[in-house]
Amino acid sequence: MASVSLSEAEKVYIMHGVQEDLRVDGRGCEDYRCVEVETDVVSNTSGSARVRLGHTDILVGVKAEMGTPRLERPDEGYLEFFVDCSANATPEFEGRGGDDLGMEIASTLCRIFNNRSSVDLKSLCISPREHCWVLYVDVLLLECGGNLFDAISIAVKAALFNTRIPKVRVLEDEEGSEDIELSDDPYDCMQLSVENVPCIVTLCKIGCRHVVDATLQEEACSLASLLVSVTSKGVVTCMRKVGKGSLDPESIFEMMETGKRVGKVLHTSLQDVLRKEESLGPERPKVGFLG
């Protein structure tokens, strides 16, 4: 369910709890729920990841396809985002019902990830003005349990980490026409550096405090939230206010500081998990949706 409706009494209960730094599920204001990350779950993609954050379930697949560079950036590849809010998450999304939310998330993701400071777009270029790799990042929303943006950004980062792009060579013959040769060895591929890929931390304003990783119930109590994208070094790369309420400037700065602090910790633990999974190699037993 994309949203829930709560009674006045339930809202008051949650708000008083947040005031005392004690949330309904026992967390403090700056604690995340348990995050489960698994990479390489869909074998016909270049890279994929599944993230479960509480009841939020996200599957991301990255497919690398050959395309032509954009005119304004002839020596760079690019990323394309598509978010499918499937009817699995809630019957409201049936047919075209999830398109609006999908568009909103996709454009936010595009603004955060598709630039030179997050991903090394130059490495995606094969021959300037002619050929480049286009990474289609497709996000599939399987269940909504609050805090979609954070879960999606974690899944996108994990999927980009898992992405393997085949190595290609550009051969030029006598007449000057170019030919692209794909490596025969399927293991001869390049990996993207995800060092600077940011994660999104959403801070929900509840009463006069703010919480990270809000559940659906907490989101129903909050009027406005701030979305901050933070890199592993704690640099804020993007910020956006979402929700129907308003925020005062002072609390925005407070929330930014929290976002930086929480984001750094989030990055460290995500990197650890990804490295550990990578070190197990192809023998790692795949759990996927069966576990």
């Binding site: 869909v42 074998s43 499918d84």
Partner: protein, 245 residues
């Protein structure tokens, strides 16, 4: 596809299976907490998720309500990254609509819809990875999801595909075998009564051979039933342990 031998002289298929052999099936019920019923199935490299909501009040226009039985509403979508070449839209194209209709037909035959008049049952299936036999995987996943939701059914619905190559009927076609373009049969079976809930056949096949292909598909569907039954029993057993019985 010339040059590719779908069935070797020794009777083995491209992926090493015998003619009537199924791919490995793994399934799990109760994948999601918010839906009324959910299930996940892997048949070889084909992976599908099914979610069931309902029976609930009719959503949208009330005029769709049926006075004597429940409305079964199905949506098929396949993830943009599920196929070898990227798809542009997950649902709404002709193939997805057709699949949705077929699923609806199949499940209207199996669910005891007369028990829930004026209500609606939603079945949503999502293919995560497609490697042949997507219809069969969707039906099998949806059966488990409907069972997980506790909606009364006449029987399991078990589906399997079959093809015909060099005078031999092959069960459970993979993508390579489907792409070769021979005759293909999709069958959904209610195994206890042996009734057929859906039968679809494309390409040309001699009438004399139909019986063999049909029998191969039916046998495969009965094998699927044995496996699904095991999954359901395992799930119920685990659930009863959790409840402390």
């Amino acid at each position: 596809m010339a040059g590719l031998e779908l069935l070797s002289d020794q009777g083995y298929r491209v992926d090493g299976r015998r003619a009537g052999e199924l791919r490995k099936i793994q399934a799990r019920m109760g994948v999601f907490a918010q839906a009324d019923g959910s299930a996940y199935i892997e048949q070889g490299n084909t992976k599908a998720l099914a979610v069931v909501y309902g029976p609930h009040e009719i959503r949208g226009s009330r005029s769709r309500a049926l006075p004597d039985r429940a409305l079964v509403n199905c949506q098929y979508s396949s993830a943009t990254f599920s196929t070898g070449e990227r798809k542009r839209r997950p649902h709404g194209d002709r193939k997805s609509c057709e699949m949705g209709l077929q699923l609806r037909q199949t499940f209207e035959a199996a669910i005891l819809t007369q028990l829930h008049p004026r209500s609606q049952i939603d079945i949503y299936v999502q293919v995560l990875q497609a490697d042949g036999g997507t219809y069969a995987a969707c039906v099998n996943a949806a059966t488990l999801a409907v069972l997980d939701a506790g909606i009364p059914m006449r029987d399991f619905v078990c589906a399997c595909s079959a093809g015909f190559v060099d005078g031999t009927a092959l069960a459970d076609l993979s993508h390579v075998e489907e792409a070769a373009g021979g005759p293909q049969l999709a069958l959904a079976l209610l195994p206890a009564s042996g009734q057929i809930a859906l039968l679809e056949m494309d390409a040309r096949l001699h009438e004399d051979h139909l019986e063999w292909v049909l029998e191969a598909a039916a046998q495969a569907a009965r094998d699927v039933h044995t496996l699904l039954d095991r999954v359901v029993r395992q799930h119920v057993h685990e659930a009863s342990i959790m409840l402390g019985d």
